[in-house]
């Protein structure tokens, strides 16, 4: 096991085992702030962990962040690792983050699709989906971002199990999705739900399954644009902001549509940078710049959520 998080290279890609081991080190070094909770097991029986950053209290309002629901989007998981360390080390020194954590909790799930991530290291670097078996087909896996109960089965998701955007047989059929759903519902006090993907430099809000505006569209758009302005200020990375349907394409069964419909107003999805034009194979030298600029946007959204209780 890593004896100190100081010896960990945040500018490198790591295996699932290394990340899980590092999480234990991080928790040990910040025992008063972070706990690691197992929220269930994946299809292939890997544990799914969430890091809970909390300074106390009971069932405080909380912010959810997940990274890496799509396995091959490696800079997402790497950004999750860097972000966890950033929250841990800035607490107590960054006044704004400290005040946030004095009133709210942050839940960060770094490996939201552990089976898929392990598979990208062992067998197929380009794997995107879960690894569940599809009865009657040799193709495996479901797109875990088409499997949520939000317009499930509608346009922008495939019913064909061999497709990379296969929605699955039913909403929440994937245990990885169900585990997150159970946690969010049983907690009942999440105020923001942020999902981090890669790549194409977008900050999106609901809906994906419908091209109609959500009731909070003006506010979500305004907060998103301000967040992106902060992000861009670091390296000039340009982002587009808008609803999933309007700035990419109609896609049903997505996580932030589900969270928004559950009542979590501040629901956003990031598509991280591709300034090097490497797609899913962003060189590891760009991990820290990517995570650093993303942090500025994440922090803006979290601060806004803190300052606008509902």
């Amino acid at each position: 096991r890593e004896r100190s998080t100081r010896s960990f290279n945040f500018g490198a890609y790591h295996t699932l085992e290394t990340i899980y081991s590092w999480m234990d080190t991080l928790v040990a070094q910040h025992a008063n702030l972070i706990t690691k909770q197992e929220v269930g097991r994946s299809y292939e029986n890997r544990p799914m962990y969430v890091l809970k950053f909390s300074t106390g209290g009971s069932n405080r309002p909380a912010i959810w962040i997940d990274t890496g629901i799509h396995a091959r989007e490696w800079v997402s998981q790497a950004t999750g690792v860097w972000t966890a360390n950033k929250i841990a080390t800035d607490y107590g020194t960054d006044a704004s983050l400290t005040s946030l954590l004095n009133t709210m909790d942050i839940y960060l799930m770094i490996l939201t699709n552990p089976d898929g991530y392990a598979y990208t290291h062992s067998s197929d670097r380009m794997w995107r989906k879960t690894r569940s078996i599809n009865s009657g087909y040799s193709c495996r896996g479901v797109d875990p971002n088409r499997n949520w109960d939000a317009g499930f089965g509608g346009p922008g998701a495939s019913s064909y199990p061999c497709s990379d955007s296969y929605r699955g047989p039913s909403a929440h059929s994937e245990i990885e999705v169900k585990n997150v759903v159970n946690l969010i519902k049983s907690h009942g006090n999440f105020k923001a739900f942020i999902s981090v993907h890669a790549y194409s430099q977008l900050l999106m809000y609901p809906y994906g399954y419908s091209c109609n505006n959500v009731p909070d569209q003006p506010e979500l758009d305004s907060v998103g644009r301000a967040a992106v302005q902060k992000l861009t200020s670091l390296y000039g990375t340009s982002y587009k902001v808008g609803s999933i349907c309007k700035i990419i394409y109609q896609a049903s069964g997505g996580s932030i549509d589900w969270s928004y419909n559950l009542g979590i107003k501040y629901s956003y999805a990031f598509e991280l940078r591709d300034t090097g034009r490497y797609g899913f194979i962003l060189p590891s030298s760009q991990i820290i710049p990517t995570a650093s600029e993303t942090w500025l946007a994440l922090k803006h959204i979290m601060e806004y959520v803190r300052d606008h209780p509902y």
Binding site: S122, S123, D124, R125, M126, G279, F280, P283
Partner: protein, 93 residues
């Protein structure tokens, strides 16, 4: 372990609705085993396609035949993956 030797990722900066439809037709052609990293949906966003080596010539001919300009974003996917793997191993050491 699956290898991607000779696979390329090509980028199309779509210029018209007609080109989007032509690319969508290409996407529907399953026999070429194309992996659309970014899908053809709008003239605002590029389209990135990982093309297996075995389909490279036919895909490029299709794009040329329809006057769809493209550039090669990644010349050989496996070369990049080898670099990525070497960097990980070096870091682990």
């Amino acid at each position: 372990e699956r290898v991607f030797t000779g696979d390329q990722v090509i980028r199309v900066n779509v210029q018209s609705e007609e080109q989007i439809k032509l690319l969508q037709a290409l996407e529907a052609a399953e026999e070429q085993e194309l992996d659309f990293w970014l899908h053809p949906v709008s003239t605002e966003l590029p389209v990135d396609i990982r093309v297996p080596r075995s389909s490279l010539s036919s895909v490029k001919e299709y794009l040329d035949a329809h006057g769809i300009p493209f550039s090669v974003m990644i010349n050989n996917v496996q070369e990049l993956l080898n670099e990525e793997k070497a960097a990980m191993e070096e870091n682990q050491r």
